[in-house]
């Protein structure tokens, strides 16, 4: 899987290596590091993720059967209370402090990684014979974790406190029906796309500063 992932990456470094470096917490937190590099890295990764989000969503829907797989399916009314929505008014977003903006994105991707894990497990039950879907979900989760690491590096560089890693999912309904699982998978993959889009904007703004 890692090889496949690595092949997709357009930046020169092999992906597993990159991800490892991103995941590792900065060892020398005392020494102030220039935030430009981690911002740039995070921005690159976010851009790359952005290219794959619609594919992930389409692949996901394709395997869930009608009406999910019907062309043009959209159900904005479906939401997950455990997953913050990426939708925000531009004014509010723009007025946010860097730290706050970063913190929200960081929280969202933390939730997304956990949710993507849950969706991956759900789909292992529902679509055990669809390795493509399962691989894409796994890859999305790894990328989300990678971005999370990058954001931590930025926050460290900026001297911001890193919010503690918390259990966003809480008590998962293990007895959720298949339909509920399909729906929550849809919401997660959809929000993953939205949050990636927002992260690109966040990082672009940060980069510009």
């Amino acid at each position: 899987q890692d090889q496949e992932f690595g092949a997709d990456l357009w930046f020169p470094l092999p992906a597993p290596l990159c991800l490892l470096t991103l995941l590792l917490p900065p060892l020398s937190s005392a020494a102030p590091i220039s935030p430009a590099k981690p911002i740039s890295q995070a921005y690159s990764l976010a851009l790359y993720m952005q290219k794959n989000t619609s594919t992930l969503l389409q692949t996901y829907l394709q395997y869930q059967g009608s009406p999910f797989s019907d062309p043009g399916f959209s159900a904005p009314e479906l939401q997950l209370s455990s997953l913050p929505s990426a939708a925000v008014s531009f004014k509010i977003w723009h007025a946010l402090e860097d730290a706050e903006r970063l913190s929200r994105a960081q929280g969202a991707f933390l939730a997304l990684t956990q949710h993507l894990q849950l969706v991956g497990d759900d789909q292992t039950d529902l679509n055990p014979d669809s390795p493509i879907l399962l691989a894409q979900l796994r890859a999305a989760r790894l990328r989300a974790q990678g971005l999370l690491g990058n954001m931590a590096a930025i926050m460290t560089a900026l001297g911001l406190p890193i919010p503690p890693e918390e259990d966003t999912l809480g008590l998962v309904r293990f007895g959720a029906s298949a339909f509920e699982r399909k729906c929550r998978g849809y919401v997660v993959t959809r929000e993953y796309g939205h949050w990636t889009d927002r992260a690109v904007r966040d990082l672009a703004l940060l980069k510009a500063k």
Partner: protein, 1095 residues
């Protein structure tokens, strides 16, 4: 008493049922009358109890009630008037009495405070109604997951004295409107005790979506009770409902259903549902209580992997559920259990039809061994693409027979398959042997070793060795070895050929064969060398000069060489000396030794690294043959030649056939072949044999290592047609014959045994196409063929030819292989001179003889001829030749012969003229003598052919009209008068011969008119060529030989006839003067003898 009757009535009615049908009408009539009477009585006695009715609910007590006048508190005494005479008091209008025995009982009801009337009734069990107590549902529960309702109630059977059948009716109702869903019956038996009953019902509609109500009633069918039996009242209704969350929900959740079944899906919701979808299909809504809706899906088809979604859409929400439609597991197919190492049993199977269910609904398999009670469960592989359905079961020590049951289960059902195996006897499929090695033992044996995993300690292994020789000959050998546990095995494989490349591989099974293991990988092995088993095949020839003996031998075949031949040793030994040549390298297969003509024994030995072969021996000298050998001929079969000979007991060693190409120089040895001494035939085959080449074969017989020539054969493998034609020359030519000689064709070009020549000859010249193709196939009829089968003949004489004629000669040779090409030659025969001379002389001689004879005859008969044809007086009357015409001309004139039209005018003209000639006639003696020039001059004009038509000449009509015909009429004049012209103007003619040719008769004829003269002059030129007087010769051209005769048939008829009007001749020809003129003309017999007298 009235009541008695009333009560009695129905009893009678019951009885009357047994009556015959014919009395029914009578009975009805009487009952009607009785009823009327009864009403009358009742109306008279209104104060008395009436209408007694009794029911029972337990068959022990009867509850009787009656009607009485209301408004008064009365105490009633009810007495059963039987032998016990028991009475009961009641303040109400009903009372309970113990059940009475079957039969009529008189009941009296006596209102105590009202003595007015005592009512008496006849009571019978048959009039009692059995109405059971209303049942009560003790407990109604629901299993929402399965949509099942469970009902529990008590039958209160202890109340009944004896066993009875009870039928329960259970009614299910739905929705607040209490719509009946179903009504079902349930039969039980009362057994004298209170019994709790359970009953379940599964709803098609999920119970969560709508409230379900249940009620029941019963009917006791007691066989001992003869009265009415009625249904009890309905029990109080019980309901079941689901308390919904705030969240909308869809039911059933994740339901697994069988393909083809019907499913109802419902939605508990507070909003209005606008759309329901099953997969891609829109469904019609069934409205339940509130906003709850349901849909019904019929004949569901198999779902995709993640199930089929059912989605309800509202304005603001999307809810749904997933249905998994599939099949129960198929019976596991091809269940097979075997062991590879006698430690673990592997059971494999084929799952059969796919269930269409995956993930948590996938089929689970359990393998259960019934003797040991152990089981193992199938664990699905991580990768769903690589599913091999197999389970491993650890073998139990010393346990041979296993009874396996494989159970397949999924939410829709289960199935199983069983197998009983004797694992050591019928189920050992060993692993593929490993570490397979081959080692040399000796030149004909090797040892094989391999390792086989498995516990075979208590059995024997049967292994199969496949031995493949280098030339791809395969051999299988079975070996049995004693089994051990996880160990190596050794076997020795013998009977191999030395120095041979072998390929070995091995596979094993147990002695009680079930399955071979897979073959091991192949191992190649070359066996070690051994000494050559035989000496080389040897032959010898003396060199051309006879001084050296050349010894030939053939390389040993690989199976006799037993190794790589390094060298050969050759030795020649006689009684006196021994010569030897040693270490002749392998490449060389002949040796030359200078020997005298003594008898030597030559021995040849082949050597390899192990040792030398036994020697091959051959005597240097041939055994002389007593008989003279005849060279035989033989023809082969295309690829070889067959030779056979008679058995000769003297030949003890073998026979040798050697052969060579007869046309090659040097010692005759191309190859040889040895045949055992007991054979009498051999087929000689060689790649070197070519068709059309002559080979010499020599058959030798062997005796004490010496060879004797027995037969000499000349042969072809296949005969072909000669490649060239024989050269031939013409030795001699005469006028009628040709002698041809030819040469032999060389053997190389003959390409077969010569069988003969074909000689073709026919007329023909060089370059003419007629003779191009010669031969039997061309089929020219004028071409002659000679088949010369005597091949010793070298000349051929062709006779009966024509002289001075060109002939084409062709010669071809032929063999049994066909006819060779042709060689041709053109020959012209000589001229035949004698024949030519004879051909000229004979006609000349004949002509002379005929001439002489004719002359003699004419001379002798000249007087008669003259008398006949030319009498002295030319009187036509005397003319014998003209006598026959007399009668014809008599009518018109005695002098002319006329044919119709014959005009008297003509006669007149001629008559006048006849006078003149008569005078002149005598004067003309011999015009030939007098006018030789004339005649000669006239001669060329004599040939002019004048043709004219015989017009009717109207001379008397001097009309210019006649001018038109003048041309022709004048001709007549000219024609007639010209005869006299010479007489009239002989001088003129002489002087002016030219004018003689263009004569003017009009000048001399008195009858001619001036007009005619003019016309005659005008026409002079036209008639210039006409000289009838000069054409005297034509007068007598009576003969058909005359050239005139060919002009026309009409003229032939009239020609020469004196009467003919067409005739240009004079009717009376001049006697003498004209004849000489005619002599100057062409050939004529008349002239011939007429001239004669003159001569």
């Amino acid at each position: 008493m009235d009541i008695y009757f009333c009560l009695r009535q129905p009893l009678e009615m019951v009885d009357s049922k047994r009556m015959k049908t014919s009395s029914n009408f009578q009975w009805l009539l009487s009952s009607f009358i009785l009823l009327c009477l009864m009403n009358q009585v009742n109306s008279q006695k209104k104060g008395a109890p009436h209408d007694l009715k009794c029911i029972t609910n337990n068959l022990k007590v009867w509850d009787c009630s009656w009607k009485a006048p209301s408004g008064r508190d009365t105490l009633y005494e009810v007495c059963i008037e039987n032998r016990f005479n028991s009475c009961y008091r009641s303040e109400k209008t009903n009372t309970k009495i113990p059940a009475l025995l079957p039969g009529d009982h008189e009941i009296s009801i006596n209102p105590i405070h009202n003595h007015s009337s005592i009512s008496k009734f006849i009571l019978n069990e048959e009039n009692i109604s059995l109405i059971p107590d209303t049942p009560e549902i003790l407990n109604l529960t629901a299993d929402f997951s399965t949509s099942a309702l469970h009902i529990k109630w008590n039958d209160k059977g202890s109340a009944f004295p004896h066993h009875s059948n009870v039928t329960w009716q259970i009614e299910i109702l739905r929705k607040k409107k209490m719509e009946i869903v179903t009504l079902m019956t349930h039969n039980t038996t009362l057994n004298g005790k209170d019994t709790l009953h359970h009953w379940s019902w599964t709803s098609d509609m999920p119970l969560e979506c709508v409230t379900h109500y249940v009620r029941m009633r019963c009917y006791i069918d007691d066989l001992h009770f003869s009265g009415h039996k009625e249904w009890s009242d309905w029990s109080p209704v019980k309901n079941i409902s689901w308390s919904p969350d705030y969240q909308p929900k869809v039911f059933p959740e994740d339901k697994v259903v069988l393909v083809g079944s019907d499913v109802t899906v419902c939605c508990v919701i507070q909003e209005k549902v606008i759309l329901a979808q099953f997969g891609k299909e829109k469904c019609s809504l069934i409205h339940l209580d509130g906003e709850n809706v349901a849909i019904k899906i019929y004949n569901i088809s198999v779902s995709p992997t993640s199930g089929t979604n059912v989605v309800f859409t509202t304005d603001t929400n999307l809810v749904g559920t997933v249905i998994f439609a599939g099949y129960p597991p198929d019976i596991p197919q091809k269940l097979n259990c075997e062991t590879r190492d006698l430690k673990e049993i592997i059971c494999t199977w084929n799952p059969g039809r796919p269930t269409g269910l995956l993930g948590p609904h996938n089929t689970s398999y359990t393998l259960f061994e019934s003797f040991s009670g152990k089981n193992v469960t199938f664990k699905r592989a991580e990768d769903p693409a690589d599913i091999s359905y197999q389970l491993f079961f650890q073998m139990i020590p010393n346990w041979e027979i296993y009874n396996f049951t494989l159970n397949a289960r999924n939410p829709l059902g289960q199935s199983e398959s069983t197998i009983l195996v004797n694992i050591t006897k019928r189920a050992v499929y060993p692993h593929t042997p490993t570490s397979f090695k081959v080692k040399d033992t000796n030149s004909t044996a090797v040892s094989l070793s391999w390792y086989l995993q498995g516990n075979f300690a208590k059995m024997h292994l049967l292994c199969q060795v496949e031995i493949t020789k280098s030339n791809s000959v395969q051999e299988l050998r079975n070996v049995t070895v004693k089994g051990v546990e996880d160990s190596s095995y050794f076997v020795v494989v013998g009977k191999l050929s030395p120095y041979t490349n072998y390929t070995f591989r091995i596979r094993c099974s147990t002695e009680t064969f079930w399955k071979w293991s897979s073959w091991t990988i192949e191992k190649q092995h070359l066996t070690t060398e051994a000494i050559p088993s035989k000496g080389p095949d040897t032959w010898r020839e003396w060199s051309s000069d006879g001084k050296n003996l050349i010894i030939y031998w053939k390389p040993l075949p690989i199976n006799e060489a037993n190794g790589r031949i390094l060298s050969y040793n050759v030795s020649c030994s006689s009684d006196e000396e021994t010569q030897s040549l040693s270490e002749i390298p392998d490449r060389q297969h002949k040796a030359e030794i200078q020997l005298d003509k003594n008898d030597y024994i030559i021995s040849v030995v082949a050597k390899n690294s192990v040792g030398s072969s036994p020697p091959s021996k051959i005597a240097s000298m041939e055994i002389p043959n007593e008989d003279d050998l005849k060279i035989e001929q033989a023809v082969g079969m295309g690829n070889g030649i067959f030779l056979s000979w008679n058995y000769d007991p003297n030949m003890t060693c073998d026979y040798v056939i050697k052969w060579c190409n007869s046309s090659r120089p040097g010692p005759c040895l191309m190859d040889w072949k040895k045949v055992p001494s007991n054979s009498t035939e051999a087929v000689i085959e060689s790649d070197q044999f070519r068709p059309g080449v002559r080979y010499n074969f020599f058959l030798y017989g062997c005796r004490n290592q010496g060879y004797q020539l027995l037969r000499s054969i000349m042969g072809y493998i296949e005969e072909l047609a000669p490649i060239v034609a024989p050269n031939f020359t013409v030795e001699d030519t005469s006028a009628d014959s040709i002698l041809v000689k030819w040469e032999d064709i060389p053997v190389e070009e003959l390409r077969g045994f010569l069988r003969g020549y074909l000689f073709y000859f026919g007329k023909g010249e060089r370059g003419t196409s007629k003779m191009r193709g010669l031969g039997p196939e061309t089929g020219h009829s004028d071409i002659k063929v000679k088949n010369i089968t005597d091949i010793s003949q070298k000349t051929l004489k062709i006779a009966d030819l024509q002289g001075k004629t060109s002939y084409r000669l062709v010669l071809r040779a032929y063999t049994d292989g066909g006819i060779g090409p042709e060689k041709s030659m053109y020959v012209v025969t000589k001229e035949n001179s004698v024949g030519l001379i004879i051909a000229i002389l004979i006609p000349v001689a004949v002509a002379v003889i005929v001439g002489v004879v004719t002359s003699i005859l004419c001379y002798r008969k000249r007087e008669w001829i003259k008398e006949t044809f030319y009498p002295d007086i030319p009187n036509p009357e005397n003319c014998k030749a003209l006598q026959f015409q007399k009668s014809v001309c008599e009518g018109n004139s005695a002098l002319t012969l006329e044919m119709n039209p014959c005009t008297p005018n003509n006669v007149e003209v001629l008559e006048t003229r006849t006078v003149v000639p008569k005078i002149e006639d005598t004067e003309i003696v011999s015009p030939v003598a007098e006018h030789p020039e004339d005649s000669s001059e006239a001669e060329p004009e004599n040939h002019v052919v004048v043709s004219y038509c015989p017009p009717i000449i109207e001379e008397e009509i001097p009309n210019p009209v006649a001018d038109e015909a003048g041309g022709t009429s004048q001709v007549i004049y000219i024609d007639v008068q010209s005869m006299y012209q010479p007489q009239a103007k002989p001088e003129e003619q002489e002087n002016d011969p030219v004018g003689g040719s263009g004569y003017k008769p009009q000048m001399h004829l008195p009858v001619s008119s001036p007009v005619e003269d003019g016309t005659a002059e005008d026409d002079l030129d036209d008639t210039a060529g006409y000289r009838p007087q000069a054409n005297v010769s034509t007068w007598h051209l009576v003969s058909p030989d005359s050239p005139r005769s060919t002009d026309s048939n009409s003229e032939v008829v009239s020609f020469g006839s004196p009467c003919s009007i067409n005739s240009r001749q004079f009717l009376l020809p001049p006697k003498d003067e004209d004849s000489p003129k005619s002599t100057g003309g062409g050939w004529s017999f008349t002239n011939f003898f007429q001239n004669k007298p003159n001569d």
